[in-house]
C-alpha cells in the first residue's frame, strides 16, 4: 500500500541544513498495523506528516496505492488524502466552536457527502463509541479521553483505508489509552484498516504487528512482532 524510498526532509537552520529525515525507506502493506518508535526529535511526526501528505519530503519517492505522490500537486494530494486517510493527533485538535456532532460532520461536508448519509454515518459512529448522549456538547465539556474518542471517530467518519495516529494516547491515562488502542485493534482486525501510529509506549506498540525504529533520520530497525 505504501512505499517510501530514501525520503529526505531538512529545515533551513540559518545557513546550514538541519536534516530530520535522510535515506528513510520502508514498505507497508495493506491491512498492517505498524508502530513508529524512536527518541524524541527523531523525526517520527515528520515522517507521519509526510505519509499523511500534510508535508512534503525535500527528496525521495513516496508511492501510495501505486501512485507517485511525490509527483502530485497539492490539489491531487488533498484528493487522495480526503479519500483514503484519517489523522488522529496527540492534542486531539477538535474545533472548539463546534459540537461533537458538528465536529464529526465537518469532514463529510468538505467531501460533499449528502445529508441523509451524513446523518446515518455519524449516528453509527456515535453509537459505536457510546457517545450519543454527548453529541450536542462542545469539546471543552468532555474529558480528554472522550475528546480523543471524538478525534478517532472523526478520523473514521470518512471511511479511510489508512489511519495515521501521532501519539494518540500521549495525553491520556492508561484506561482511556487502552480503550483507544482496543478500537484500533478492532478496526485493523475486523475492517482491515491499515494503521500507522507513533508511540513511546511498548504496550501500545504491542497492539500492532510491526515496529519501525527511527534513528538519525533513518529507519534503523524493522521489527516484526
Amino acid at each position: 500500500m505504501i512505499e517510501f524510498k530514501d525520503i529526505e526532509r531538512y529545515y533551513d537552520a540559518g545557513a546550514v541544513k538541519s536534516y530530520v529525515l535522510r535515506y528513510a525507506s520502508a514498505r507497508i502493506g495493506e491491512g498492517e498495523f505498524v508502530s513508529i518508535m524512536g527518541p524524541s526529535g527523531a523525526g517520527k511526526s515528520t515522517l507521519l506528516h509526510i505519509l499523511g501528505m500534510l508535508d512534503e519530503p525535500t527528496a525521495g519517492e513516496y508511492w501510495f496505492l501505486g501512485e507517485p505522490v511525490h509527483k502530485f500537486n497539492e490539489r491531487r494530494r488533498t484528493e487522495l488524502y480526503q479519500q483514503y486517510i484519517g489523522f488522529v493527533f496527540q492534542a486531539y485538535h477538535l474545533i472548539d466552536d463546534l459540537t461533537v456532532y458538528e465536529n464529526l460532520e465537518t469532514p463529510l461536508l468538505y467531501k460533499k457527502v449528502p445529508s441523509a448519509e451524513r446523518k446515518s454515518r455519524i449516528a453509527d459512529l456515535l453509537d459505536r463509541f457510546n457517545m450519543v448522549a454527548k453529541k450536542d456538547l462542545f469539546p471543552s465539556q468532555l474529558s480528554g479521553g472522550q475528546q480523543q474518542l471524538v478525534g478517532v471517530a472523526r478520523a473514521l467518519i470518512g471511511r479511510p483505508k489508512l489511519i495515521l495516529a501521532d501519539e494518540p494516547t500521549g495525553n491520556l491515562q492508561s484506561p482511556q489509552a487502552r480503550e483507544i488502542m482496543d478500537i484500533f485493534r478492532q478496526l485493523n482486525r475486523d475492517e482491515g484498516v491499515t494503521i500507522i501510529q507513533v508511540t513511546h509506549s511498548d504496550t501500545n506498540a504491542r497492539y500492532g504487528s510491526r515496529i519501525l525504529h527511527l534513528l538519525d533520520g533513518k529507519v534503523e530497525r524493522d521489527e516484526k512482532i
Partner: protein
C-alpha cells in the same frame, strides 16, 4: 454547507462581540453614506428614462463651432417652424413636439389664485411622451386651443377632489386673465423628469398669442424646445450631413455672410442642428435649458467616488481587524485543513462571515440612510425617497452594494487565512510576516483619506468665507431687492418710491431692470468699435441705483433726471471697459461709443467711469460693463436700502407700502447679500459634503484604530505585565503602544498634504478671486487626526497598562 457556514459565522461573530460591534457600526455608516450618495446620483442618471420610446426621442439643438473669437456653444431654444419643417423634410421624423415653457404664470379658479408652471405643448405631447392621463383622451386633450390639462396635484389644488374635466379656469396671458377649459388630468410628472409642468396648454394657443405670433414662420426667433420622435432604426441623429443640408435650406446664406465678413474661415459651415437623446437632457449642461438645471455627470462620479472612499475605509477596518486576530484562528484553520478542507472551502467560510456581517450592516445602514435622507434632501434641494417603484434598479444596487462590501472587506483576510499551511497553523507558528506591513499600509491609507478630506474641507470653507467677505465694490448689506417683474412698474415705481421716502426704515430706493446676484440674468451687447469686436454687459438703472448701492464714481458724473439726454445718449462705463477701450479715468468722459446701436441708442457718450464691482460671481474677473438710464426698459427690480437695525420691522413696513399700491400681487423680495451668496451655493454644498465625508472618514478610521489598539494590547498582555513588574510606568507603556499607531498617522499627514494641495489648486482655479492655500490648514487637519487617533489608541493602551500584571502573567 452554506447553512453550516452561516452557523459558524454567526457563532464567530457572537463570540467576538466587541470586534463585531465595531465592524457593524463602521460598515453600516459607510454603507449608509454610500447608499445615500448612490440614491442621489442614481436619481440624476435616471432622468427622463421613464419615457417608453426614449431611445427614439431626441431634442433638437443648434450647435455653433468656435467662431469669431467665441467658444463653441449649443442652444436648445429654436424657431417655431423647425418642428413642422423637420417632419416635412425627413421621412424618419415621425412626430415633433414643440414646447414653450412660459415659466410660472398666474392661474385662478374659483378656489385658488397661484403661480404654477404653465407649459404650452403640441397636441402629440401626450402620445409621444410617457405622461399618462387620469382623465381625458391623450389623442385630443390638447387639440383645442382653449383646452388645458392639469396635473393631479394642480387639479387637487384648483378644484379639490372632484374630476375637473369640463370646468374652466383663467390663465394670465400677457397681462390679461383668459379662460381655458379643462380637458384632462395628467399624472404628476415624476421628479426625475426634465420636462416639468403643472398645467399643459395647447401650443397653438401660444402661437396665436401676442408673443407667439411673432414666432410663426419666423426662423429668426428662437424660443422653443423641439422634440422629435424618429422611426425605429433611423440614423438621423448621427447624420450631420443631412442635418446640415436642412439647416442651410432654412438659414440660407449664413455661412457665406460669416465668411465674407471674415468671421468664419473653416471648411464647412459654422452652425448646424444636432439631436440630443432625450435621456441625455439632464446630463449635458453644455446644452442646458429647461426647468431642472442639468448636471455634469463628472460630479456624479466624484460623489460616488467620495462615498466609495468612505465605504472603503469601513471595509479596511474589517480587513485589518480580521488580519489582526487571524493568528488566533490559525489552529482552527489547521484542523479544518487536516480533516480535508480545500482552500476554496475555507475561503468561502470566511467570506460567509464577512458577507453575513455586511448583510446585517446593510439592514442597519438602510435605517440610517432613511434617517439622514431629509438632511441630504435639504442639502441638494431634492425630495428623494428610497422608492423602489420610481427607481426599480435600487433593489439590485443595494444587494450589489452588500455583496461588494462583504467581498471587499473579506477577500483579503479570507485568502490569507485559507492559505495557512496546516502544520504550521496547528503548531501556532503563524507569524503573519508581511501582513504587519500590509495592515500598516491600510491604516495609513485610511488616515491619508481622512486628513486629505478634512484639509480640503478647511480650504473650501476658507475660500467660501473669503468670497463672502470680499468687498464686491458696492455695499451689499441691508439691501432689499423687491421683485416687481409682474407689475406695471412704470406706473407703480414712482408711487412706491414716494411712499418709501416717508418710511423711516428706508434710507434710499433705486431701480434696475435686472436684479443682482445669482439667477439675476444678464444682458450683453456686441458691437464693432473702430474695427474691433467688443462685448459689453449692460444694466439699465435709474440715477438713484448707484447711490443706494454706494458705488464709486472714478471720474465724470452720475446720471441726472434733469439732463434729458441721459436717457437717450449717456452711458456710465466700468473700469474694465475703460481699460478694454484703452482710456484713462481722465480721458473716458466724453468718448463716443461709435458703432453701438441698441434699443434706440446710437453712438452713446460716456459721462462717467464707475469703480469695478462684481456684478458676476467671483468665479469671473470683472468684465467690461456699462450702465444705461432707463428709457425703453422697465424698472423691474427695486433696490431698497434699509437703515441698520431691526430689518424685520423695515420689511413689514415696506410690505405695507407695496400692498397699498399693488394689492393684487404678492410682495416678493430677496436680500442682496443672500442673492450674492447663492452664487456659491454649489461650492457651499460641496464643502458640506466633503466635510461630512471627512468627518465620517476620521470617525471610521478612529474606530478601526480603536479595535486594532485593543488587539495589540491583548497580544502584548504578557509583555506589558513583565514591563510593569520591572517597573515601567503607565505613561511609558502607553507611549510604547500608542507610538506605533501615531507614527502611521504622521506618515499619513505627510502623504495627504501634496494630494489635497493639488486637488484644491484645481478647485480654486475656477475662481478669479481666491485664497492662497496656507500650510497651517494642513497642520490643523493633521493635528485633528493626531488628536483623535491619540485619544482612541491611548484609551486602550492605558487600559492595558493599568491591568493587574500578576493576573495577566498568571493566565499565560
Amino acid at each position: 454547507m452554506l447553512k453550516t457556514n452561516l452557523l459558524i459565522a454567526l457563532r464567530s461573530l457572537w463570540k467576538n462581540k466587541a470586534i463585531t460591534a465595531i465592524n457593524i457600526v463602521g460598515l453600516s455608516l459607510g454603507m449608509a453614506c454610500f447608499s445615500l450618495l448612490m440614491l442621489h446620483v442614481n436619481d440624476e442618471f435616471s432622468f427622463d428614462r421613464f419615457h417608453v420610446n426614449k431611445e427614439r426621442i431626441y431634442r433638437v439643438y443648434r450647435h455653433i463651432l468656435p467662431y469669431n473669437g467665441k467658444e463653441a456653444s449649443s442652444d436648445p431654444y429654436l424657431p417655431m417652424p423647425l418642428g413642422p419643417a423637420m417632419q416635412a423634410d425627413f421621412p424618419d421624423v415621425l412626430n415633433y413636439v414643440r414646447l414653450c415653457d412660459w415659466g410660472e404664470q398666474y392661474v385662478r379658479s374659483a378656489r385658488l389664485l397661484a403661480k404654477p408652471r404653465v407649459l404650452y405643448a403640441d397636441a402629440r405631447f401626450l402620445t409621444v411622451l410617457a405622461f399618462p392621463l387620469l382623465y381625458g383622451d391623450p389623442q385630443t386633450a390638447l387639440s383645442d386651443p382653449n383646452s388645458v390639462v392639469l396635473t393631479e396635484q394642480a387639479a387637487l389644488d384648483y378644484f379639490g377632489e372632484q374630476n375637473p374635466t369640463g370646468k374652466t379656469l383663467e390663465i394670465k396671458v400677457a397681462d390679461v386673465f383668459e379662460p381655458f377649459v379643462v380637458s384632462g388630468v395628467v399624472r404628476n410628472p415624476p421628479p426625475n423628469s426634465s420636462i416639468r409642468f403643472d398645467f399643459l396648454a395647447s401650443f397653438e394657443r401660444h402661437a396665436a398669442s401676442k408673443y407667439g405670433k411673432r414666432g410663426v414662420n419666423n426662423w429668426n426667433r428662437s424660443a422653443y424646445f423641439t422634440l422629435v420622435e424618429l422611426k425605429p432604426g433611423s440614423g438621423l441623429a448621427s447624420d450631420s450631413a443631412r442635418l446640415q443640408q436642412f439647416y442651410n435650406k432654412y438659414h440660407p446664406g449664413e455661412t457665406e455672410e460669416a465668411r465674407s465678413a471674415g468671421q468664419w474661415a473653416g471648411a464647412g459651415d459654422p452652425t448646424n442642428y444636432r439631436l440630443q437623446a432625450l435621456t441625455d437632457w439632464h446630463t449635458q449642461p453644455e446644452i442646458g435649458g429647461g426647468a431642472v438645471a442639468p448636471v455634469n455627470p463628472k460630479y456624479g462620479w466624484i460623489l460616488l467616488g467620495l462615498g466609495g472612499l468612505v465605504l472603503l475605509i469601513a471595509c479596511i477596518n474589517f480587513t485589518t481587524l480580521s488580519i489582526g486576530r487571524s493568528a488566533g484562528r490559525a489552529r482552527e484553520v489547521g484542523v479544518r485543513k487536516v480533516i480535508g478542507a480545500r482552500r476554496g472551502q475555507l475561503a468561502a467560510q470566511f467570506l460567509t462571515e464577512s458577507l453575513l456581517l455586511s448583510g446585517i450592516s446593510m439592514l442597519l445602514a438602510f435605517v440610517l440612510a432613511k434617517t439622514f435622507l431629509p438632511a441630504l434632501n435639504e442639502l441638494t434641494d431634492k425630495q428623494l425617497r428610497f422608492d423602489f417603484q420610481l427607481y426599480p434598479e435600487l433593489g439590485w444596487m443595494l444587494t450589489g452594494l452588500t455583496l461588494l462590501t462583504g467581498l471587499l472587506a473579506g477577500i483579503y483576510p479570507a485568502l490569507v487565512q485559507s492559505g495557512f499551511r496546516p502544520l504550521e497553523a496547528l503548531r501556532s507558528k503563524i507569524r503573519l510576516s508581511g501582513s504587519g506591513l500590509f495592515t500598516k499600509s491600510l491604516v495609513t491609507f485610511q488616515f491619508v483619506l481622512s486628513v486629505g478630506l478634512i484639509a480640503c474641507t478647511l480650504i473650501m470653507l476658507r475660500q467660501l468665507h473669503f468670497l463672502q467677505q470680499k468687498n464686491p465694490g458696492f455695499n451689499k448689506e441691508n439691501v432689499l431687492i423687491v421683485d416687481a417683474s409682474d407689475a406695471d412698474t412704470r406706473r407703480i415705481y414712482p408711487l412706491f418710491k414716494a411712499a418709501l421716502a416717508a418710511n423711516p426704515a428706508v434710507e434710499g430706493v433705486g431701480a434696475s431692470e435686472l436684479s443682482l446676484g445669482a439667477d439675476a440674468g444678464w444682458s450683453r451687447s456686441g458691437f464693432e468699435y473702430e474695427g474691433q469686436h467688443k462685448e459689453v454687459f449692460e444694466y439699465f438703472i435709474d440715477p438713484d441705483y448707484m447711490t443706494v448701492l454706494n458705488m464709486d464714481l472714478l471720474s465724470g458724473r452720475p446720471f441726472d433726471y434733469a439732463v434729458s439726454a441721459d436717457t437717450t445718449q449717456s452711458v456710465i462705463i466700468n473700469e474694465a471697459m475703460m481699460h478694454d477701450f484703452g482710456w484713462t479715468p481722465a480721458s473716458a468722459p466724453g468718448q463716443v461709443l461709435k458703432g453701438y446701436s441698441e434699443s434706440g441708442k446710437k453712438d452713446p457718450v460716456v459721462i462717467g467711469v464707475v469703480r469695478d464691482f462684481n456684478f458676476l460671481s467671483l468665479h469671473k474677473e470683472v468684465k467690461p460693463m456699462m450702465f444705461h438710464m432707463f428709457n425703453g426698459y422697465q424698472p423691474y427690480q427695486f433696490f431698497v436700502r434699509l437703515r441698520p437695525g431691526d430689518l424685520s420691522e423695515g420689511i413689514a413696513a415696506i410690505e405695507k407700502n407695496w400692498l397699498a399700491i399693488e394689492p393684487d400681487l404678492p410682495f416678493r423680495y430677496h436680500f442682496l447679500d443672500d442673492n450674492l451668496a447663492r452664487f456659491y451655493k454649489t461650492e457651499a454644498r460641496w464643502s458640506t459634503i466633503t466635510g461630512y465625508a471627512g468627518g465620517l472618514a476620521v470617525m471610521l478610521a478612529a474606530l478601526g484604530l480603536f479595535g486594532l489598539a485593543a488587539l495589540a494590547a491583548q497580544k502584548r498582555t504578557k509583555e506589558i505585565g513583565i514591563r510593569k513588574v520591572l517597573g515601567a510606568s503607565v505613561a511609558g507603556i502607553t507611549r510604547l503602544l500608542a507610538g506605533d499607531f501615531l507614527r502611521l498617522v504622521l506618515l499619513a499627514i505627510v502623504l495627504a498634504t501634496p494630494v489635497a494641495w493639488y486637488l484644491m489648486q484645481l478647485w480654486l482655479a475656477d475662481f478669479a478671486y481666491r485664497i492662497e492655500i496656507s500650510w497651517w490648514t494642513f497642520a490643523v487637519a493633521g493635528l485633528m487626526a493626531i488628536a483623535i487617533a491619540f485619544l482612541t489608541v491611548s484609551f486602550q493602551s492605558i487600559r492595558a497598562a493599568l491591568a493587574d500584571p500578576v493576573r495577566s502573567l498568571r493566565s499565560e
